[in-house]
Symmetry: C2
Subunit: 537 residues, 2 copies
Amino acid sequence: MKKSALVADWNTLMRTFIRPDDERTKATLIKYMEQIQFGLHDFLSEHVGITEEVSLKELSDNLSDTRISKNPEKKLADVITDLIEDIAPHAVNITSPYFVGHMTSAIPFFMIHLKTIVAALNQNVVKLETSKVCSVLEKQVLAKIHRMIYQRSESFYKKHVQNTNSTLGSFVECGTLANITALWVARNKLFPPKGNFTDVEHEGIQAAYHAHGVERCVVLVSRLGHYSLRKAGGLLGIGNQNIIPIDIDHNNRVDLKRLNDQMQEIDRDQGKTRILAIIGVAGATETGTIDPLRKIGEICKQRKIHFHVDAAWGGPTIMSEKYRHLFDGIEMADSITIDGHKQFYMPMGCGMVYFRDPHAMDVVAYHANYINRPGSVDLGIKSLSGSREASSLILDSALKIMGSRGYSLLYEHGIETAREFAEEINKRPLFEVITRPELNILTYRLCPNAKGMLSGRNSPKEIQINERLNEINRTVQRLQREAGNSFVSRTTLKILNGSNGINTVVLRCVIMNPMTNMMILREILDEQEDIYRRTFT
Amino acid sequence: MKKSALVADWNTLMRTFIRPDDERTKATLIKYMEQIQFGLHDFLSEHVGITEEVSLKELSDNLSDTRISKNPEKKLADVITDLIEDIAPHAVNITSPYFVGHMTSAIPFFMIHLKTIVAALNQNVVKLETSKVCSVLEKQVLAKIHRMIYQRSESFYKKHVQNTNSTLGSFVECGTLANITALWVARNKLFPPKGNFTDVEHEGIQAAYHAHGVERCVVLVSRLGHYSLRKAGGLLGIGNQNIIPIDIDHNNRVDLKRLNDQMQEIDRDQGKTRILAIIGVAGATETGTIDPLRKIGEICKQRKIHFHVDAAWGGPTIMSEKYRHLFDGIEMADSITIDGHKQFYMPMGCGMVYFRDPHAMDVVAYHANYINRPGSVDLGIKSLSGSREASSLILDSALKIMGSRGYSLLYEHGIETAREFAEEINKRPLFEVITRPELNILTYRLCPNAKGMLSGRNSPKEIQINERLNEINRTVQRLQREAGNSFVSRTTLKILNGSNGINTVVLRCVIMNPMTNMMILREILDEQEDIYRRTFT
């Protein structure tokens, strides 16, 4: 029998906008939330795997209907059931402690409550008139994180926390947009008014270069810098070829000698090439390593170059008294990127950028007649984005629930587990650690019959062995992912240990889920050994 | 008595990551969700007002604590209670049908359920490995909206819906980022390889201008274009002074004669100035008016200029069979901006950009070793943002629950109520409509003793009267906002009716809440009359 067709009508529609008065409807809505909270959660916990075996091809075939139905296709209850029963099983179970391949993990359940509050209030923090207290609260949270990093004086924060003319930072969607914002500000700072020239934001790159006698701007950053920096270079009109990758040292930090060499080469250009910024990476995406921030900071200070730190990953670890020292010098940064959805364990997507100078963002201010009037609290005045949700409310609440100590326990667990894991890897004859964990990220590889045997001199024989190892690691990673019980990611590094600067395929492990322990990590290695033996021997 | 202090400890922390097994904890978590859903809702409905009387000063004073507590400050229950009792009352009650000032309004309650599902799944759609089905689903939704606008053939959508090499559009955080993405693509298209020059993304603006013998790029758009277009010009390095505002006609649409004049002036420049894009506005932020899209499209087609349509507001209205004709020619656009959190009634923040050519975004592709590998499904390859949540899941579900007919009922209600409201305004001696509603937005003003009396010749006397009216409207709008019972926004227009191109302060009304009816709108006018009489007579 055919189901009775749904029809769009005004009264049904109205009911979806009004808070239900009767207890029955109320109970139904609560039941839906319960289903979402526990149905999804039950599914995710019962389902040990990371992904289902359904192929991408099959999913694609099932999701190829491109027509919008005229009348409603489904009732809310059915949509929720579908999402829980048909969509969730094919999503990635990032909450699993066996999912250690990416910077995405389980989050505390209260984060979902907080996100729901943000959605229910549905404020738009682009302007005060659609957010009021949320804009004020956002300024407070920005000051809290700014203080956590920069630790400036009480009077500094008193002056700026609610100052409508200054800006300690900005919420954006992600680390990419935070990095873009930082370099946007740095670019504009580099080209102040000169003669008839007003500024680069107004007149463009061509006019700015011309007025300042510049032919090229470059950004210097470790080869391990995030790809979003190249994107920023392209977007901002300076060209992504001018994001210059600097070689790394044996600890996977930017090689300061190479950095200096590069700067000297630029100096020989007699001012035609200008350094827009030097970037320190504080938690490299692939290796978790941290550049020598104080030393880079000193170079930048001496030469008056914008110093940006990409701490999208590592930033929050500053809260740990035990590991804060790893970030020594970060307070010298002119700008800093930190992600909320990474180590603040917030839901997707929340990036932030902070500026030491509360007036740094003045060079990217925009106004309009209907919004962002000069002198107003409107947060949209200095912001890459326009409309956006009040993510700051989630962060503010999370800081209250966790305390810096609560967060620190998570970071300390991650770092210490990663160290123990590195030892376990090196103990096994089949594996070698490639990059040791400085934070909670490490890389390693299977190296059957080759452990410790590569001299780094890259003889033809060694290159051949390395190629073979790359093939093995690529295969094992793929087969493990496809088996669906655990997930470790892979990347290709040109590291200096073992194979000397040649492409080395490595397995990458990010330990941020507090449930991930040594027992689980040993199982993951066991599975990799097993896959290797079944496939290659 | 002092409350017992909270301490961060590992076991408590762990419990926030695990799905509770005991019924009591489960019940507590459900109770919290109930509080969020109905506590907030109850508050918002009982509280007729838009904003509380608490001053910004007072809020700022209360939110000036910039220290992060070491140990937890509060339990989840207390944080939720605080948010409901202390924060929500000072947020803006955008769900009120008396809140008609901005493009933010009540949303159907199921949107909150859907947002909660997205948060609970917490997928990251930057790459397949952290999203799987959600990436596939996103491609399907993009194809649905693309088809809604462009109505290309069945075979076109079959070919592209799940094609990993082509891209019909992209989700971003907001309309601003959508407009930036569109102009980023247009900029890169404008400077193809030439001789040794590879492309502008790689080499930058300076090299691109040099290789192509260009000195300046401009974007032409009605004076009513969104301020984000200037931001895009600044960000992309072409200079925001080169976003050239074109005068409007008596219907608040771009004046085609002026547009042609501007283009002829550019032509006299013998190729040194290039038109990067012409933009059609489809639902101007201030007036809701729609540019003559087909005519602009024809100009662009003839001259091979990128045609972008900013339909952030109006876009979804295309689903209404009754009003689709207003967007005649939109399918000629090379790129289109549409916001999800506007007329798709989604929670903040969801913007989208669509491209007619499924390969248009190839010019902004980025790869890395650990992500976005060439040929993969990773949605981050062609995207301004990096990490982001699976908003597409909300839109897909909403389309199923509403059907295009359900959405259309909302648009038709808004447009028709706005028209009736315009009549009501003009009927009252104290008011005059300034811009008639083409969609569901209109502007008007109080014009005591001056209705229909301004000839538009701008004599000194008329300018003086206009100044006086501006002052009255500014004051009445502010006092009404402060009273907190209803909210109408204000902006300053240089319109051609009445006062001829001089600054005219107007009251602006956006009718998107289906609960907003004529009774409410009459009350709003009554209140404005009342405020005027109490203050000025």
